[in-house]
């Protein structure tokens, strides 16, 4: 038997052995995900309907956590303001969309350069690895690395002042929406590069030659051949980036100077006050939204087939 085609996600059933033996081998991994993933998710759903007081969770069934989350959200108040939950989600969505667009454009361009313009495969691998190495280092360190650059007395402000472009330091560089987006892009563009580069490498090079032989310009080839063919990579990368930003509390916390609200941050703060049922209800709302986004994205591609 030859190696299974790259299109199938799961290695073909080629090795000896019966189904029962296979399940013994898969058991440890299955057990980990049952105990530390599926049961916890079920518990989050269950506890979101519980009541609580200052000391403990009270088993039961109540919708009051959900009511509390959406309190005042159905109608705008006199001042025309939105409720905290809607505001927080809008702010989180704003970050998601911005970071998604930036990481997509940067990730696509970098992958495109690596896949189609670097000719030697050795150089290709080295440059690709160069892009992925920082992924293995601490997120917090990569965040605080921006402080000496963006701070009031940081390198950027110093440079601008020396050049006479500003009289006083720019304040919005650090602990702002700007620094949050910058840190997200810095941290998570890797999640775009890896899947997009992967699907680009699978594109049959003769298709591109065919396009150019038929008289397509570079732009036409890019738009009509390359982008459709690396759709899978784009969508996988998008799912990663969007789910990360939607649930984040560390980056927004550190880079926003603990001033910017996010859904993840709300959940974290509520758990620190031991309001677990309320945090669980928030988690359920967040999860439903994230699942809807993922569902919408996966309508465009069958991930299991193409991973």
């Amino acid at each position: 038997m030859s190696a299974p085609s790259a299109a199938s996600s799961l290695p073909a059933a080629s090795a000896p052995g019966r189904s029962i033996a296979a399940w013994w081998q898969a058991l440890p991994l299955t057990a980990v995900f049952a105990v530390f993933f599926l049961i916890p998710l079920a518990l989050v759903l269950m506890v979101s309907f519980w009541d609580y007081n200052q000391y403990e969770m009270l088993p039961g069934f109540t919708l009051k956590n959900y009511v509390a989350i959406f309190d005042g959200c159905l109608s705008r108040n006199e001042a025309g303001d939105m409720c905290v939950t809607v505001k927080t989600y809008l702010s989180t969505f704003k970050f998601s969309v911005l970071v998604w667009l930036l990481t997509l454009v940067i990730g696509f361009t970098v992958s495109y350069f690596l896949a189609f313009h670097v000719r030697s495969s050795g150089v290709q691998v080295v440059l690709f690895v160069l892009c992925t190495i920082p992924f293995w280092t601490s997120n917090v360190i990569r965040m605080i690395a921006w402080v000496p650059l963006l701070g009031r007395n940081g390198l950027v402000n110093d440079a601008l002042a020396t050049m006479g472009l500003v009289d006083k330091p720019i304040e919005w560089l650090l602990f702002s929406d700007f620094s949050v987006v910058l840190a997200f892009v810095h941290l998570f563009t890797t999640f775009m590069i890896v899947p997009i580069f992967n699907s680009m490498m699978r594109i049959d090079r003769s298709l591109i030659e065919a396009a150019s032989d038929s008289g397509a310009t570079a732009w036409q080839t890019l738009w009509n051949v390359i982008i459709p063919l690396c759709r899978t990579g784009i969508i996988i990368g998008s799912i990663f980036v969007i789910t990360i930003v939607m649930g984040d509390f560390v980056t927004i916390g550190v880079m926003g100077g603990q001033q910017i609200a996010s859904v993840g941050k709300i959940i974290q703060v509520q758990t620190s006050y031991l309001q677990f049922p309320l945090a669980a209800a928030n988690a359920v709302v967040l999860l439903s939204l994230v699942l809807m986004i993922i569902w919408a994205l996966t309508r465009m591609v069958d991930i299991r087939k193409e991973l």
């Binding site: 399940w23 991994l29 299955t30 518990l43 989050v44």
Partner: protein
């Protein structure tokens, strides 16, 4: 790419790529440089001398935080996560090569764990162990074991809840690497071994394992470095002591000296050491395999 000579597009893209790499590494380099700041220096440039002062300060401890203890905890947890990730991923990778009933559901669960917002997983595990604590206390009470009850703290801990939380993050990577390995794996070697009378265990031990060993080292590296730097999934699932990244996250708001950069440099060095060791070991194993094949 259509022309033989480098086009203008190539140079524009190359410039873009160089800018991206600078953007990627520049800030990290700044951290490393600033950690060697002189004793008079602060969090930003200019450098006031060159010294190991802030590394000494770090070794003495930062405020109330015991950095050494956190470092050992993170190392211990990282190595444990690494071992479990290797064994469980390889086993599951083997399982997926056979007819695995329900394999698609398992695969879907693993991928779901990878893209699930970490705060939700973390909250769930935290809740699970709190509920477990409640149940254990009730049971101890029911059996009248007051002595044990008084001493009972919590089931939340580094090697219980935090270990599980880390595995939900490292195992998806491990399994996906195993898929990549076995997609390129030629089963003819195994068939040959079987035809020569090898038992399944012998086939695995002497044929499959040596062939996949270089990539398995990679899985170990993923396991360790992902655990070493993990915050989001650990945050609600750790109990009363913290891992190094969690301490570091806490320190970002309180420590205003370059010792925090020294700490950053130290953890970065550990990450890079592990990566370097993994690459070296993997190369060594591959070379040994090649040498065997040549003789």
């Amino acid at each position: 790419m259509q022309t033989k000579d480098r086009s203008a597009a190539f140079w524009a893209l190359a410039l873009f790529f160089a800018a991206y790499v600078l953007f990627l590494y520049g800030p990290m380099l700044v951290i490393v440089v600033l950690s060697f700041q002189g004793p008079e220096g602060g969090l930003t440039f200019p450098m006031r001398g060159l010294s190991l002062h802030w590394f000494h300060k770090l070794a003495e401890g930062l405020g109330v935080v015991d950095i050494g203890a956190a470092l050992y905890r993170s190392l211990g947890l990282g190595l444990t996560v690494m071992a479990f990730t290797i064994v469980f991923s390889v086993l599951a990778g083997l399982a997926f090569r056979k007819k695995l009933r329900g394999g698609h559901i398992l695969f879907f669960t693993v991928v779901a764990s990878l893209i699930m917002p970490s705060i939700i997983v973390s909250l769930g595990i935290g809740l699970e162990f709190r509920l477990l604590d409640g149940a254990i206390k009730k049971m101890l009470e029911a059996f009248g074991m007051d002595g044990v009850l008084e001493n009972y703290g919590t089931a939340l801990g580094i090697y219980t809840s935090a270990l599980g939380a880390h595995l939900t993050w490292t195992l998806p990577f491990g399994l996906l690497i195993m898929f990549a390995i076995f997609n390129r794996f030629n089963p003819a070697y195994e068939e040959a071994a079987r035809d020569l009378g090898a038992t399944p265990w012998q086939g695995f031990r002497h044929v499959v394992l040596p062939l996949i060993a270089p990539s398995v080292v990679g899985i170990g590296m993923f396991g360790f470095t992902l655990s070493w730097d993990e915050i989001a999934r650990t945050s609600q699932a750790i109990g009363d002591v913290n891992t190094l990244p969690l301490e570091l996250q806490g320190l970002t708001t309180t420590v205003t000296t370059p010792s925090i950069y020294a700490l950053g440099t130290v953890t970065m060095v550990v990450s890079f050491l592990v990566m370097g060791l993994a690459v070296g070991l993997s190369k060594l194993l591959a070379a040994r395999q090649q040498a065997k094949r040549d003789t």
